[in-house]
Symmetry: C2
Subunit: 394 residues, 2 copies
């Protein structure tokens, strides 16, 4: 498709949305899709809809659509739960695959929930060390005592991207299992899970996939190992015969074993609709457009606002689809920008994040956003006391 | 309110719905509520809606509404995830509270996912025994080697109900932690969690609460122990300061520590709407109506269909809000009933389940359902080959 395709989304009047890396836009037609699920399926078919409306198969259908975007074969991705839960599932399974090793290696700047879930798992089973090092030190720390390397492909603050193939190869050379968190990659940059050879990947769908607030997460398991993978969260819908009501858990012979409880049908249906857009997206074209928008933004902002320090890699190949700038008063600047229709977000300490989503952003949006940022900085608009009040979420 | 209140629900033409114990009806006004969440909140407010539309506080708000129905104080119930996940959280926390004990005691007829999750947890941490006994043997098996007694209050097949206060007292007398699964109790029978003294309770909301397919689950933690409870699923939204992005997990000082990942906002909003109905429900009146409907159904069916064997307790006080009958060809009978607008369901082996929801069922529905069941049995309609084909879900 020719990018951007603004006509596919509801875009609020006067808004330049640079926060699709946090919550994507509402795809047009979502309302009608949900109306069908509520009125025709739930309301009329009721319990029968699990069969008649395909609810039972919806998690797998959606997983296959995500897989098609991420280079994962049909049947290798399960959907549901939250990304935190999927991190736990993948990590617990990975540790069981390397019983003699007691180290989980991750990035000290990883998104907190990934580290927290690892800490909770380690506390639960005992005897494990969560070892965190910086991006630059990572390659040197993939040693033969590491059970699993757990990394977020694109850093949530800086947008810095790991070389997925290289790191995975290093993990395997050291005998470790590789787990990628694709939260800021899925729908943002080209990913080929099969080519990477990684055992596990997880991700969320409310960012670049536009699945809506609280959209279900996903987990990938490399097909050749799936029958060896022991699910720690062994729920009935991951059972090989959920409705046989057997007393003992017996995992499904596919990635379906990573399903846990009853799937969130309404949220899955919204996501399924949002994924329609991706049938016509070429990830190479999307990436080229993303790089162009990011480069343009960096150039424009650096020319206009010398006070701001680029907090993302300058080289496009090392960056995801976001650009971050460091500014001590970044929180207040972001509030002032939002007040002027430019929605980015802030992550402590001092990071202003701007996500670029070529599906609904064009060059004119990027230039206008840079102009408004220039005004806020030049005229010290951020000094207004109203922008200093810290609310819970930005 | 005067029961039933059929005007509050969408009821398909010609349907008598006796499966509210599996998936409740669609409350009227759900469509409009969801339209607001999609168009006004997600569509227009976008990421700001986490604050401006109250998304961040929605899980707790919904938890407090559920608590008000279950005798749980404000702040003691967290919502989100699935019931399977909540079982895991409660069980993992309970085991950590009794480190010297290695037995999880449950009912051999417990709903499979509860047993499966316990098996998965035991397999993950090692050294634990899941001991299952029958309902009748339960009291005698609550011994001082038991770490946690994990029971479903109302049995999903028979509707048989445990004496919550008695069993909890026995568990505590033996030094064990008590965990109740309220899947078939919440909104079905009076429950007073505070009076019971139980440490943990979990439940789902798509049955008697009418929260829709895949509605979020809930978990109760007794307020006096919450700060001792170690979350095994330590996600960022259970952190004391989620947006401080601290490297180490530090649990919230309330039941909020049982939150894990990003909440399913659309499903929570649907549930929030469904709970409006409960503001005016008196659980004593609801229970009286439920007992009346169940007794009437038993009497009518036993008079009309001597071939069927009651598989629920005859005494109302020992029964939840469902009535089950055993019949070898139960699966085919249920299919024939569904074809005639009477929707119940089937659980292997041979159990036909009929749920009674006084919010939307009256005595006339019960009598009509019994008449149709009589026809199906008397005329051997179930022998029709089309009713013998087993589909995946009933």
């Amino acid at each position: 498709m020719t990018l951007p395709r603004k006509d596919l989304f509801e875009i609020p009047e006067g808004v330049i949305y640079l926060d699709g890396n946090s919550l994507g836009l509402l795809p047009k037609g979502t309302q009608a899709k949900v109306a069908t699920v509520l009125s025709d399926q739930w309301g009329q078919q009721l319990i029968r809809a699990w069969n008649s409306a395909g609810w039972m198969d919806l998690p797998q259908k959606v997983g296959d659509r995500i897989g098609a975007i991420l280079g994962a074969p049909a049947g290798s991705i399960a959907t549901g739960d939250t990304l935190s839960i999927k991190v736990f599932q993948a990590l617990a399974s990975a540790l069981k695959m390397r019983p003699d090793r007691k180290v989980i290696l991750s990035d000290a700047g990883n998104f907190p929930t990934d580290l927290y879930m690892a800490q909770g798992l380690a506390g639960l089973i005992g005897g494990y060390e969560l070892r965190t090092v910086s991006h630059d030190e990572m390659a040197d720390h993939i040693t033969d005592d590491v059970a699993v390397v757990m990394l977020t492909h694109v850093d949530y603050r800086s947008g810095r991207m790991y070389d997925m193939d290289d790191i995975t190869r290093r993990a395997h050379d050291a005998g470790a299992v590789m787990l990628w968190d694709l939260a800021h990659s899925a729908g943002a940059v080209p990913v080929d899970l099969t080519a990477s050879g990684a055992e596990f990947a997880v991700g969320c769908t409310y960012k670049y996939f536009n699945g809506g607030p609280g959209a279900p997460a996903f987990i990938y398991v490399r097909p050749d190992i799936v029958t060896e993978v022991k699910p720690a969260l062994s729920g009935w819908l991951g059972h090989d015969a959920p409705f046989a009501m057997e007393p003992a858990y017996r995992p499904a012979m596919s990635t379906e074993r990573m399903r846990v409880g009853t799937p969130p049908i309404v949220q899955l249906a919204i996501l399924d609709h949002a994924l329609d857009i991706w049938d016509d997206v070429d990830m190479g074209e999307l990436r080229a457009a993303s790089v162009d928008l990011c480069e343009l933004f960096i150039r424009e902002v650096e020319n206009r606002c010398p006070e701001l320090e680029l907090a993302s890699p300058r080289e496009a190949a090392l960056r995801g689809s976001q650009v971050s700038f460091l500014f001590e008063q970044g929180y207040a600047v972001v509030q002032a920008l939002i007040d002027r229709g430019v929605i980015g977000d802030f992550r402590a300490p001092g990071i202003m994040r701007f996500g670029f989503t070529p599906l609904y952003l064009g060059r004119e949006d990027v230039i206008r956003a840079a102009e408004i940022l220039e005004e806020v900085i030049r005229d010290k608009i951020w000094q207004d006391p109203k922008y200093q009040i810290v609310s819970r979420v930005t």
